[in-house]
């Protein structure tokens, strides 16, 4: 029997705790108890999330035995106060004094509790609150007076004469409860406002930091290495001086590369098709510069994947890395293979080089960090970049689980 009651109590507590934690979910929950919860949830809806979280934390801390122990301790304390009152005013009865002290004490405790967790409404509508308190005091007085009328053996005029005194007493008790409640409410509200302001400042700072890092990223993407530009222009100059028709071809590739990479400053998003073309023009430029003996490359993009959206410049960064850390330091040069494929809904992008491999030329890792950051911004945890030693060279691979869900 006891166990059943305890179990029921525990479920009841759990229900409310869940409700405090997530009122929206309880509102949606089906089941027999849900009507009661739904009403409570509607009431909770008027609380701010900070208030609700505090209520949840409090309820969690004082659930079960601890809560009842607290109530018991309060009852003992209030009874002591009642006993002291009885000693101070011997005219009252023991039971009446202790009962009155407990009633007033618990009214004060629950009132402050309410004010503690629902301070915003209390402070926002304090006149409404005071009026309600006054009305309740009046009603309580009348009720008390009516009880008195029925059970007292005093004459009606005498009882009528006691009315002002009783009214004054009730007003005193009412004030005793209302003033601390209001004080607590105002105090808590001030705390809440400070906290809100702090949170707003934090959010603002975070937003600024993010905007800053995004603009830095944009700058990084737009950055074309001066080495690349100078050396390519040198190659164009040499070809032009030799009167070689390849000068025009190299210039065309450089223009295509510059247009795509500068154009990308304006748009965050690009398509696989555009990205492969960008990498293609970059590799063609590098092939003219390094010579066909030192750089060979293949690009494999299935037509079905060409229109797929993705953040721009990521593949180019990987291709640049392959050139810089793989092909250029290799005595015999090597090959770069760029490919895209879809397997089980996952998009795989691969940049494989047959150069000197990892560790031979340590870079700053800035480029890769940038790529990881941009993938995270665009796909969250759905995109993974891995770098693996191949024999020979390195394979940089990006796997994107929901490539269509790019942000």
């Amino acid at each position: 029997m006891w166990r059943r009651i305890a179990n029921w109590h525990r479920r009841w507590e759990d229900g409310y705790l869940a409700l405090f934690a997530r009122p929206a979910r309880a509102q949606a929950a089906p089941g027999q108890a849900s009507a009661r919860y739904r009403n409570a949830a509607l009431a909770l809806d008027t609380l701010s999330s900070v208030e609700r979280q505090q209520l949840h934390a409090f309820s969690l801390a004082y659930r079960g035995a601890r809560g009842y122990a607290l109530l018991g301790r309060l009852a003992v304390a209030f009874s002591l106060v009642g006993a002291l009152l009885r000693l101070a005013f011997p005219a009252t009865g023991w039971i009446a004094a202790i009962a009155a002290a407990n009633a007033a004490g618990f009214a004060l405790a629950f009132g402050i509790c309410g004010a503690w967790f629902n301070y915003r409404k209390l402070v926002l509508r304090k006149w409404h609150f005071l009026a309600r308190m006054a009305r309740n005091a009046l009603l309580a007085t009348l009720l008390l007076w009516a009880i008195f009328l029925c059970f007292s053996d005093l004459s009606p005029p005498e009882i009528l004469g006691r009315l002002p005194r009783m009214l004054a007493m009730m007003a005193g008790i009412g004030l005793m409860i209302a003033v601390p409640m209001l004080a607590v409410g105002v105090l808590r509200n001030r705390q809440h406002e400070a906290l809100t302001a702090q949170l707003e400042r934090d959010a603002e700072r975070e937003r600024l930091a993010r905007a800053l890092s995004e603009s830095q990223l944009r700058l990084l993407r737009a950055q074309i290495e001066p080495h690349f530009l100078f050396n390519t222009l040198g190659a164009v100059q040499q070809l032009a001086q030799q009167g070689a028709p390849r000068a025009a071809e190299l210039t065309a590739d450089l223009i295509a590369f510059l247009r795509a990479s500068l154009g990308d400053m304006r748009a965050d998003q690009s398509s696989l098709d555009a990205e492969f073309k960008l990498v293609g023009s970059y590799l063609k430029v590098m092939q003219v510069r390094l010579g066909e003996g030192r750089l060979r490359f293949t690009l494999a993009l299935p037509p079905a994947l060409a229109p797929l959206r993705m953040p721009g410049m990521i593949l180019l960064t990987l291709a640049e890395n392959a050139i810089k850390h793989g092909i250029e330091p290799a005595l015999r040069g090597g090959e770069i293979a760029l490919s895209a494929s879809v397997q089980d809904g996952v998009l795989h992008l691969r940049v494989a080089d047959s150069g000197v491999g990892m560790g031979a030329t340590p870079g700053s890792g800035m480029g890769l960090e940038n790529v990881r950051h941009r993938l995270r911004l665009a796909y969250g945890d759905d995109a993974v970049l891995t770098l693996e030693d191949a024999d020979p060279g390195v394979v940089a691979a990006i796997a994107i689980a929901h490539p269509e869900a790019v942000q």
């Binding site: 080495h227 040499q238 510069r289 005595l331 340590p362």
Partner: protein, 248 residues
């Protein structure tokens, strides 16, 4: 006639340097055109040119490392892509440098400067190279730790530090260890860039010896020495270029 070495890894840049050299200095004789640092150094030992134009970023040995090995044996002009740190270091040192893409006017000036200095002793690059190596990150060379060599039908993995000496054998390199020797399918000039020059001394174009294995060096004639190696019967010849290693 002044002999010149040109080392540059990009073919068009290489042609450009050669064209400009032919125009600005017709009397210079280009004895070697190298496409990487390893060939540049090997070719330097073979031809001993008086002037070397060295690209800094090249596969194999970097231009800085080649210059470090050349030491005071030739006049060096560096060719480099724009790099503020490098430029500052060059400006502080006495060595000339050309920024890529090299323009004819600037090249002529460099040639004029070199010709004026030809009769002087080449500048010592030691301090400058120290600065440059610190200033150019990512240019620290990767050291070889293990060598794979075929001995008969077996593949042996050799700890580089245990090697007594390396000797060039056309396309292969003979690797001699205490008690056995093996052939590695890499030419010595390409092995060289992976070896710590403090430990492995090149004493001849075709010979690199582990300094810890050297027992003694003795004079053969006015120019040449020979070195005896611990744990090995052979003696190794030290060429004139490297005789300074054994001068006290």
């Amino acid at each position: 006639m002044t002999t010149v070495l040109v080392a540059e890894d990009e073919p068009l840049m290489r042609e450009r340097l050669l064209d400009m050299l032919a125009a600005a200095w017709p009397e210079a004789r280009v004895v070697l055109v190298a496409e990487n640092g390893n060939d540049a150094w090997d070719g330097f030992l073979e031809h001993e040119p008086e002037v070397a134009f060295l690209d800094i970023r090249m596969p194999g040995l970097s231009g800085l490392e080649v210059a470090g090995r050349i030491g005071k044996l030739a006049h060096v002009v560096f060719v480099t892509a724009y790099d503020q740190y490098a430029v500052d270091a060059f400006d502080a040192g006495a060595v000339d440098y050309l920024l890529k893409p090299v323009q004819a006017e600037r090249f002529e000036k460099a040639v004029a400067r070199i010709r004026a200095r030809l009769d002087l002793r080449p500048a010592d690059l030691g301090a400058l190279l120290g600065h440059l190596k610190a200033a150019l990150p990512g240019m620290r060379p990767e050291r070889t730790r293990w060598l794979k060599a075929s001995v008969g039908r077996q593949i042996r993995v050799i700890d580089v530090d245990e090697v007594l000496f390396f000797q060039s054998d056309t396309k292969y390199t003979r690797v001699v260890l205490p008690g056995f020797e093996a052939l590695v399918r890499t030419p010595l000039k390409d092995l060289l860039s992976g070896l710590d020059p403090q430990r492995f001394w090149q004493i001849h174009r075709g010979t690199v010896v582990n300094a810890t294995a050297i027992a003694a060096a003795e004079r053969i004639d006015a120019e040449r020495l020979q070195v005896s190696v611990r744990g090995c019967e052979e003696t190794l010849t030290v060429s004139r270029t490297f005789a300074h290693l054994f001068r006290d």
